[in-house]
């Protein structure tokens, strides 16, 4: 009985079920992919740490060389300890920077620093892809991407340079070292993952040579020259001589999950998606409220008990959650594997295993992530349905009118958390010792208040815009205005999402501009001498691929949600379309009507977003107290505000353009036969 009811219910709300299922699946897939990529990153970390000798129980960076301050160990001692203690997995790694391309001028000798290492001991390992390790003087193994950059093959020769630290000009001159390439190692990058591998590996003979490329030379005050190396020593267990200089600290703790930087974009997308799903559940649920109430009333009239209907709703949810989890988890693993495979293809000679790592407990988290929103989403339509009067449910009155009139939030209520929050923040920060919990609570109140004010504000704004539109002389705009005035809540969700997108874009721009500006304040001369341009740098950092991907994902999600809401709204109000057609609206005008209904809230949302962005930008500038950087003679204030505005405008324009297209598609596709059932 309950199973059959649940099935019937699923069938009755097929479109909504499909939408919800798709979004939930997407959410699970994104979370699973993030988690799987994190587990894979965690698997990669000890592997790459091993190359640099960072994966052992103990680690030391002794002072090695002949400096007057009595070095901890000489190079010979280091090698002896590492080699004469078998079973401890000991390794010594000499590292240093070299450059493949000399800089353009004496003051910028190095354009690109490559980490070059050499290791010795039983724990030594290099991720060799082809050829052999560098074992004697003048031999080198290049990482695949480094070799590609130099267009070098095994058997060829390359020259790497390093600053001559001891020459009279300081670091101004470079000394070239010629090498024969004997092997190719894994690439230093794996797109989508954080990899830290050397660009080249040379023989220990060269590395430990005081005249070799990895030795540092210092000129003492007495005029004599000293030599030193950067050496990492690592081992397991107890080695007496090394224990004296050891730091008992495992450098890289390797947990179950280590999120690569790129996963921030994934999490961002998942968060937007989750928010959007809940918003959509409310909006779509509302537009179907009386339909659902009618369904419940009808089924009850035919003998179903209220409890059976409730249980069947939960069963419906569980079915959706189960399918979303199964498909989403499989899809997410596939997505992560695809990301890994593509990264490996892009890397050429990739580092690490070819398959992603799975983690049971983390998949369980993804399952929970499916279940919680599913529960919320399933209860929302029932909640709305319960607001429709039972007598109204069986009347041939259509859709949401009952629900629409049943609830009003006083504007003051929305603003209250904002005021309380402001007071709390002021209290928390005004005392000499700032009271952190009060401040945090205050900011949470401010955030909640902001959302409430934006939501309520949009309701009023939409009504106002509706009234303006309904005074238009165009029948389509007039009808759209009537719709917006009559059902402002339907438009709220897309409007709020648009505001959030634009504000977020502005905040992101602000953040990047501020970090560029402070960077510049620190290194101004340096940056200029590198020929770096402030605005170009800002543009590059703002339009980072992860940021762009998140922004695009966010925009798409906004559109998916807005379309779903308008679509369900339109289906619910189809009788009105028929009536309007009979009263003289053409099909094109009906399409235009719904285009306006779909697009207008996005326009309002974007405009409000711009205003909010400007407000937040100025506030942030006032708090951050940015000093003007004089690169290019731009005063910080005006420049920053211009940048924020540009970022926000770009997001708004992209959103509105995309919105115009999807609104048109929704309006056109929803244009079913006028007189059909």
């Amino acid at each position: 009985m309950i199973g059959r009811l649940a099935l019937a219910q699923l069938r009755a709300y097929r479109t909504q079920s499909v939408w919800t299922l798709s979004l939930m699946t997407l959410l699970v897939a994104i979370l699973t992919a993030t988690v799987v990529m994190g587990a894979t990153q965690a698997r990669l970390e000890p592997l790459q740490a091993r190359v640099s000798g960072w994966d052992k129980e103990f680690h030391a960076t002794p002072l090695v060389g002949d400096l007057p301050g009595q070095p901890d160990l000489t190079m010979d001692e280091v090698v002896a300890e590492v080699q004469n203690n078998p079973g401890h997995d000991a390794v010594a790694v000499i590292s240093g920077d070299m450059t493949p391309i000399p800089g353009p001028s004496a003051s910028t000798p190095v354009l690109e620093a490559w980490r070059v290492i050499s290791s010795v001991g039983e724990g030594a390992t290099i991720p060799l892809a082809s050829g052999r390790a560098a074992t004697s003087h003048g031999e080198i193994v290049l990482a695949a991407d480094a070799a590609r950059e130099l267009d070098a093959q095994i058997g060829g020769t390359v020259t790497l340079y390093r600053p001559d630290w001891v020459s009279a000009q300081g670091a101004d001159s470079l000394i070239g070292h010629g090498f024969e390439v004997v092997g190719i190692a894994a690439s230093t990058s794996l797109p989508g993952f954080d990899i830290y591998l050397p660009s080249a590996y040379i023989s220990w003979e060269d590395a430990a040579d005081p005249a070799g490329p990895l030795a540092y030379h210092w000129k003492g005050s007495d005029g004599s020259t000293y030599t030193s190396w950067t050496v990492d020593v690592a081992w397991n267990g107890h080695i007496a001589a090394l224990a004296a200089v050891a730091s008992p600290w495992s450098v890289f703790g390797t947990g179950d999950i280590a999120l690569p930087g790129a996963s921030i974009a994934w999490f961002g997308t998942a968060a937007v998606l989750l928010f959007a799903m809940i918003v959509m559940a409310f909006a779509v649920g509302r537009s179907q409220a009386s339909q659902r109430a009618q369904w419940i009333a009808t089924v009850r009239a035919m003998g179903a008990r209220r409890s059976a209907i409730a249980v069947s709703s939960i069963a419906e949810t569980l079915v959706l959650a189960g399918v979303a989890f199964a498909v989403g988890a499989a899809g997410g693993i596939g997505l992560a594997q695809a990301a890994l495979t593509m990264g490996r293809l892009a890397a050429g000679e990739p580092f690490g295993p070819a398959w992603v790592s799975l983690h049971g407990a983390l998949l369980a988290v993804a399952a929970l992530a499916a279940l919680v929103p599913a529960l919320v989403i399933a209860t929302v339509p029932a909640f709305w349905a319960s607001r429709v009067a039972p007598t109204a449910a069986l009347k041939p009155v259509n859709e949401l009118t009952e629900a629409e009139v049943s609830r009003r939030v006083p504007a003051l209520w929305a603003a209250a958390p904002l005021l309380v929050g402001a007071v709390l923040v002021a209290l928390g920060t005004s005392t000499s010792v700032s009271i952190l919990p009060v401040v945090v609570l205050g900011w949470i109140c401010v955030a909640v208040g902001m959302v409430a004010v934006v939501v309520e504000g949009h309701r009023h704004l939409t009504r106002w815009a509706g009234r303006v539109l309904s005074r238009s002389s165009s029948p389509a705009r007039m009808s759209a205005g009537d719709e917006l005035t009559a059902r402002p809540r339907q438009s709220m969700a897309p409007a709020v999402l648009a505001t959030a997108t634009v504000t977020a874009a502005a905040m992101w721009t602000l953040r990047e501009v501020l970090s560029q500006a402070s960077w510049r304040n620190l290194f101004d001369d340096h940056m200029v001498s590198y020929g770096s341009d402030f605005w170009r740098d800002v543009f590059t950092s703002v339009t980072r691929p992860t940021a762009l991907a998140t922004a695009i994902a966010g925009l798409i999600v906004v559109q998916v949600v807005a379309s779903a809401i308008v679509w369900s709204h339109r289906v619910a109000a189809r009788q009105d379309d028929v009536a309007r057609a009979a009263l003289g609206l053409s099909r094109r005008q009906l399409t235009a009507t719904w285009w306006w209904v779909a697009w207008m809230p996005q326009l309002l949302g974007a405009l409000v977003g711009l205003v909010l962005a400007a407000l937040c930008g100025f506030t942030a500038l006032a708090i951050a107290d940015v000093t003007p950087h004089d690169a290019g003679g731009i005063a910080a204030g005006a420049g920053l505000v211009a940048a924020i505005t540009l970022g926000a405008c770009a997001a708004a324009a992209a959103g509105l353009a995309l919105g115009a297209a999807t609104s048109y598609a929704t309006a056109r596709l929803g244009r079913a036969s006028l007189t059909g059932p």
């Binding site: 109204a392 009347k395 041939p396 009155v397 259509n398 859709e399 009118t401 009952e402 629409e404 002389s473 029948p475 007039m478 009808s479 009537d482 719709e483 005035t485 009559a486 059902r487 009788q575 009105d576 028929v578 009536a579 309007r580 057609a581 009979a582 009263l583 003289g584 609206l585 053409s586 099909r587 094109r588 005008q589 036969s673 006028l674 007189t675």
Partner: protein, 255 residues
């Protein structure tokens, strides 16, 4: 059946004309021919009633005549304007200014008050508001005290009267009404039908109304008996008894 090409002459003084009108729903074995090669002439100033069993295609026919739906075959004219094959915008113009439509399910806009519903055709078609005509309609239909209310606050009969007012507010040449008196009491329906008959005679308006009520049909100057998507017969200047007899005959044919 008349030859359609011969009948398609312009300049006819007919209010409504249809030739070879056909509408099918669905496909395969489930296909339904709701209107089947139908020819129809409605003279100006005539009140025509369409009667027939449920599911015989009456609603489909009036939708086709109003240009709300497009036929699979055949042609429709409203006055001299052919509806078939014209642009969507031109069709909308006819629906808005020439034809008034009363839906079987009223189709009032739930978010608008009764007054706004009645005035909507004027707004949508940028027509001037004739205050006197509005008052006349409201008086005649007896909905003066209901104007500020929303449709879901009205009874079925009151909604029906608002729907009739909305169809008449533009003073259309042709009124198509799908069971306009289905939810009304005897007195109210008599008033409305008298009014419709009067405006046919005096203003030359043409009214086509679908009805199941022989008394309502007796107000018409002509009753078309409809069965299986075709006109099975007609009664001129019908009395209630003649209509009943006609329906009886139709039922016998059906069997």
């Amino acid at each position: 059946m008349k030859d359609t090409t011969e009948a398609a002459q312009p300049g006819d003084a007919l209010a409504l004309r249809a030739r070879g009108l056909t509408k099918r729903y669905g496909s395969g074995p489930a296909a339904v021919t709701a209107v089947d090669h139908l020819d129809l002439d409605i003279a100006p100033g005539e009140l025509t009633a369409i009667m027939g069993p449920s599911g015989s295609g009456k609603t489909t026919l009036v939708h086709l005549l109003a240009g709300l739906d497009s036929p699979d075959e055949g042609r429709v004219w409203v006055g001299d304007d052919e509806l078939t094959g014209i642009s969507d915008a031109a069709l909308a113009r006819v629906r808005g200014r020439v034809v008034g439509f009363v839906f079987q399910g009223f189709n009032l806009l739930q978010t608008m008050s009764a007054r706004d519903n009645i005035m909507l055709p004027l707004r949508l078609n940028a027509l001037p508001t004739d205050k006197k005509w509005l008052d006349t309609l409201v008086d005649m239909l007896g909905i003066g005290s209901e104007l500020a209310r929303k449709p879901y606050e009205l009874s079925g009969g009151q909604q029906q009267r608002v729907a009739i007012a909305r169809a008449l507010i533009t003073e259309p040449r042709v009124v198509l009404a799908d069971e306009p008196t289905g939810n009304l009491d005897v007195h109210a329906s008599a008033q409305i039908l008298s009014h419709l008959r009067a405006s046919c005679r005096e203003l030359g308006q043409s009214v086509v109304m679908v009805t199941h009520d022989p008394t309502a049909a007796s107000y018409a100057s002509k009753v078309l008996l409809f069965a299986d998507g075709q006109v099975a017969g007609h009664i001129d200047n019908p009395s209630r008894e003649a209509v009943l007899a006609g329906l009886d005959a139709l039922a016998k044919v059906e069997r």
